[in-house]
Symmetry: C3
Subunit: 245 residues, 3 copies
């Protein structure tokens, strides 16, 4: 069984994160938390989200899993006003999720989770770690958009840099270590990433003012941030592109 | 002759209502009121609007009729600021409407009304009547949009309900009688309607906070609301769709 | 050499004006001012802009010229917040413009100016001169947009008028001399212009509350206004269309 009440704002954070990579996802329901692990169809990026039962206004659950269509959840979230609490009840007999916002009830068919495996989150030993204001990432992405489809993320003991190289123009967005909230980096590192994926991940950060990045050279980037006022956590992983010289 | 002055806001209410169903309409000019009766090209819906001479800031008229293009009126309304008074003068010699907003004058050709008959408003005996906050209708429509092209409007002694049934999902927006401003309904009624028409009619309600609905089973819905601060009235009729089981 | 600092707002005014007519332009760098003269590809309109060194927050320059792509400048301006100062440095060795906004640096290739001649600004003896609130021009343009692709600009000792004649409708926007800030006009004048060009020129006026127009009969219109708080000046010239009767 699964019966929960959750603020629309919290559910929106979850849906924004998960829908960045997949249209449908398996939500693993536990006694103490809901977790989602998913890989995008091109196998370039992974999300690992957990939302503690304390993030809910009400929570009664056995172990189980729900296959949820992200677009349908977005449609429901559009009906909610700020402060609204959304009720979610699993109708096991008809395998539907009954979602109620105010006076509106949607009976939503669930997606079959049989084909959805839980991806294994790789353990990576990434040598550089830094905490950065989300707004700096956004500005670096905006500056890069007209230059190239790729960006390089660089870190050194001096700070962090987003670089985009085009045929005629190049852009560099530098965040010196004084403007970083945390920086652990002995040797300089650099990896290249697809701009669209990285941009969408940063969009999904939402209102969290800061993000932690873990970087290496020609290694995936790991991005970590809190949701639900600290009662949930998100890890994104994004694979690097090989640089051709 | 026809010479009138009217606040832009009032004219906008009229144009929003009439343009919901038709691109061109015959405005019947009387000594004491302007009336418009029109049926949409698919003969699914009808509007019956009357605007008292008290809704105008100035009004001199003999009996007559003016064929008016709604898009041209919208273009003029876009030139008006809040509080502007629009002057309308019929130039009978050239059969044009001379419309003045501030320092701008548009001489607008009129549409031939020869082929425009006055539709007869059917007298319907609809057993259920209820007054509902417009915002509840809007929320019910928003919730239904992703589900189906049709909505069922239901009333009973317990209240009002908008229901939309899709292939996999369904939505119900319930307004219990405590939230209705008026409810007269002995036996439960239910009719199915095309969502796009009903949605456009509700959009045309504009700023009126409440609407009166008259319903039966497999009967048209009648929607009544005031415009021009009570100095005008609108009746919409919408034909039902037959439900196939 | 060219090293300058300029408020984003000032640079935006310049880019809005120049990009109204051309995608790329030759900026003539002088010791005391930057000037741009350009003709649109259809040879219908000309811009003559000058920006005094006092409009900059910092300015060191020898004589020279820079071929600048307007879209690239717009991309950079989108990164700037209100109040930001933009740094512009000519990297002569690589013939690039190094543009810095906050922590973001773009190295921008310059356009070859070899094929860009300096158009000669014709000396015109236009008999009518008037100063008009920009908002009146905007209203006249809005009113004309649905009527015709052309507008006539008229002046007489009584005032100024924008007229648009369509097949069925016509619009007239009259600004009597009492509403003009200045009017010098003995004999009535009238010329016809392409609406899209005139509309784009008026859009480029931006926040300047008033504009000076110089008019004749079947002659170009000259439009003059200040930018950069009076530390820069713009002259637009637009060729007339011949009226067919």
């Amino acid at each position: 069984m699964f019966e929960a009440k959750v603020k629309a704002e919290v559910l929106k954070e979850v849906v924004d994160v998960v829908s960045t990579l997949v249209d449908e996802a398996k939500f693993n329901i536990g006694k103490d938390a809901v977790t989602v692990k998913a890989v995008d169809p091109a196998h370039v990026a992974m999300v690992d989200l957990s939302l503690d039962r304390a993030a809910f206004d009400g929570y009664k659950a056995d172990e189980g899993e729900l296959g949820i269509d992200m677009d349908k959840m977005k449609e429901i979230l559009r009906l909610a006003k700020s402060g609204d609490v959304i009720s979610l009840v699993h109708d096991e007999e008809k395998n539907r999720l009954v979602v109620t916002v105010g006076n509106t009830t949607r009976r939503m068919s669930l997606v079959d989770t049989a084909g959805m495996s839980d991806p294994k989150v790789p353990s990576l030993n990434l040598p550089a770690k830094l905490a950065i204001r989300t707004e700096e990432l956004r500005q670096g992405i905006r500056a890069s958009e007209s230059i190239s489809d790729h960006i390089a993320l660089k870190a050194s003991s001096a700070g962090f840099e987003i670089v985009s190289e085009g045929d005629t123009d190049s852009v560099s967005h530098v965040v010196p270590k004084e403007l970083l909230e945390e920086l652990q980096c002995k040797d300089a590192v650099r990896s290249l990433f697809p701009l669209d994926y990285f941009s969408n991940m940063v969009k999904a950060i939402g209102s969290s003012p800061a993000t932690t990045l873990f970087l290496g050279t020609d290694y995936p980037v790991k991005m970590e941030f809190k949701i639900a006022g600290g009662k949930g956590e998100v890890r994104f992983l994004l694979a690097p592109r090989i640089e051709s010289d």
